[in-house]
Symmetry: C2
Subunit: 435 residues, 2 copies
């Protein structure tokens, strides 16, 4: 391993010899002294070289340095309050250019599409790097919560013999002499863990939707955060799990990255209080209408503007960034959502809205096979095609429920990013398969 | 939430009223007293009901109980040393059949193929449930190691515009009006994190191989455990990371599940000592030949029997279950493996063998663009098709390397399972897409 000190650890190091490695951010090639800003995965550092009067190979190397080149420098660390960049600098003793760089085709003001073409350069921008360190912290906090609460991690297959949601958005795969489909969600397979007696499960993995939308909130491949648990009484139990997870995740992010996030995004991460506000959808629509917005839909669903409006109301009334909209109409929910005993027109389900945008759908699932079959038929589905799934309910199954949540959506809304692409390592859309 | 006590927590609970939920394992319906063995995700429990002399609705319910039905029972917990099953039993006060079960189509001696048809029932078997709790612990230990060592978690796309490994094993996806391919590994994209300045990354996610093999060690979809890190000097640094991860994972598994594993699989989990033995492949072949086994291959590769033989040698000589075979010939390694300075015929790469089977390949990657391009051409690849990948190396990139490892293979070999299917939640093979 190259013996190097991470830049973030230099401030706490004592003055003296040190080796650092990273890439060249900027070069100021002045007459008497040369400055290089070096970056690595942990931060930025000023390197300095006073030019010698005669032959000076180090100065020549620095003058020829291209931005983005990867270098290793050995030199003398000096703490100096006058240095704006962290109060330290390294006097260059040796410099090795490990990998030269062509000139970057993108700059800070380059449009998002071209930046995505050069995503590996775009990700060098410190705030972009920060997004994925936040993602790491968020996921690890969630998984730690799950593991500490005896959830089993599952990896459900992404290759399926049939659709799990709507057929319209299904990617078809040539599978030897036949066909397969890409999973639109782990729905059926995480439910399978329930008759399997796993009790409580989680998965963070890819899901695929052949959705030709070009909105800022859609992708053809996305990371789905899923959990499912047994022996619930209603969707209320799922919401309780869900809000505890959000608290665990946001607490970890705030602790580890709160200051960085404030500096880079101007956002103070708020750890939400529990319980999150819960508003039945019908009431939410009334509230939104009273605020002067009539949801322009013919079905019973909310629309994005309605979600923004109800979020604004919740923020004003309860000072909360989250709201559970509950009891969606059966007409707009999948067949496997359980319906209310007293009113089969509404389901035991919810959407979780965060900063005005839906990030998740959860529900109690219908586990009674006769009811489930009837609801499938009700939706015009062919029980034949669902046979393998319906079997899960014929051999004993506990009451259960869960949710699925878009990872990049959470990040986008947490950090106030303008679109999903910024919160995705490598975005996939209808016209985007590269790099 | 149904107020229930997990069975594993009953032993430490005091005698008195308790509610338990789970599924019926067995019923012994005797004249004077009825016994039910109840199972939940945490263990098994004896329920008891002395028959009343006259009308006894509880006895009637028990008599009608089908194996596999999910029930909730409220009753009196009693500690009693004479009860073989954990020294406790619950005297049934109330019993509710929550979900009835058809008779299970599988039994303990059912063949693996039919068990896979009914995987959700097969997973109820305690040792199968244990496999996935071990998986959870293993993954969480790995991720905790990575997070504590400042690795960034990435989710690379599974939809690609071109092949990342061999074209022969590529699944093709209809992608709107065009085509996409399923990622065979996150290779290119985890390498992308290096010029992106991420430093060190990891991912646990699915990978896809259109491999028509039917061996016990292959699947068309598998979970790949990947890591990649910057500023290495050689593949030795990758091996060092790799062995530390194995130690962290096995330590956690042994601590949490050591006793259960010994009981269920008759295996004592050994935490490996470091460094693992390292043997260059050419030497390994000599050793194997001396043991009387000539590898029947025309290329420079090892074969499965050779791997078993060298593992047996290592076990005898060093008492170790792991061995790194290093320095594979360039002829049998992908173009992106770095070759030795002194001998371009061998690569800075390794396979990790565990209990006689390969579980992982690792290497230092070639990061010098001219060399990389030449090696690609050398392998008959079209640099045009690799353009997006080759670009990663033109704008500055640190020396780097990493490995990919099959999750189910590790579990299979750790627990002495006969095939991958047993170690996979839902197996996918050339003729297996259901359930």
């Amino acid at each position: 391993m190259t013996e190097r000190t991470l830049i973030k650890n230099l401030a706490a190091s004592s003055d003296g010899p040190v080796t650092v490695s990273g890439w060249v951010d900027t070069v100021r090639d002045q007459k008497k002294v040369q400055f290089v800003v070096l970056r690595d995965e942990s931060g930025a550092l000023q390197l300095v070289h006073p030019r010698a009067e005669d032959a000076d190979p180090i100065a020549d190397t620095i003058s020829a340095l291209g931005t983005g080149s990867f270098i290793t420098v050995t030199g003398d660390l000096k703490h100096d309050e006058r240095v704006k960049l962290g109060g330290i600098e390294v006097l260059i003793g040796e410099i090795e250019v490990v990998s030269e760089a062509l000139e970057s085709p993108i700059a800070e003001d380059t449009g998002v599409d071209k930046r995505m073409d050069w995503r590996f350069l775009d990700l060098r921008v410190p705030r972009n790097n920060l997004i994925f360190r936040i993602q790491t912290t968020l996921e690890h906090a969630w998984r730690t919560y799950w593991v500490e609460h005896d959830f089993i991690e599952i990896h459900t297959p992404k290759l399926m013999a049939s659709a799990s949601e709507s057929k319209a958005e299904l990617f078809e795969v040539k599978y030897f002499d036949g066909k397969a489909y890409l999973a639109q969600s782990p729905q059926f397979f995480k439910q399978m863990a329930q008759p399997a007696g796993f009790g409580r499960v989680f998965e963070i993995g890819p899901a695929f939707r052949a959705d030709p939308s070009f909105t800022s909130r859609h992708a053809t491949e996305f990371v789905s955060v899923d959990s499912e648990l047994s022996w619930i009484d209603s969707h209320e139990d799922v919401m309780r799990l869900h809000e505890e997870l959000m608290v665990a995740g946001f607490t970890a992010v705030r602790e580890k990255h709160g200051a960085e996030i404030e500096a880079a995004f101007g956002i103070e991460v708020t750890v939400p209080t529990t319980p999150f506000p819960r508003i039945p959808l019908a009431e939410a629509k009334r509230i939104v209408a009273e605020r002067g917005y009539e949801v322009p839909r013919h079905d019973d669903d909310m629309d994005p503007e309605g979600e923004r409006q109800i979020a604004a109301y919740v923020k004003e009334q309860f000072g909360h960034e989250f709201v559970f909209l509950t009891d969606y109409a059966s007409s707009i929910r999948p067949f496997y959502h359980m319906r209310h005993e007293a009113d089969a027109g509404i389901t035991k389900s919810y959407d979780l809205i965060f900063n005005g945008v839906e990030i998740s759908t959860g529900a109690q699932r219908e586990h009674r096979i006769e009811v489930l079959e009837a609801q499938a038929r009700d939706k015009g589905l062919d029980p034949e095609e669902l046979a393998f799934y319906l079997d899960f309910f014929r051999y004993g199954v506990p009451p259960h429920g869960g949710f699925g949540m878009g990872l990049s959506r959470v990040l986008m809304l947490l950090l106030g990013l303008p679109n999903l692409r910024e919160a995705t390592y490598l975005f996939r859309g209808p016209t985007r398969l590269l790099p």
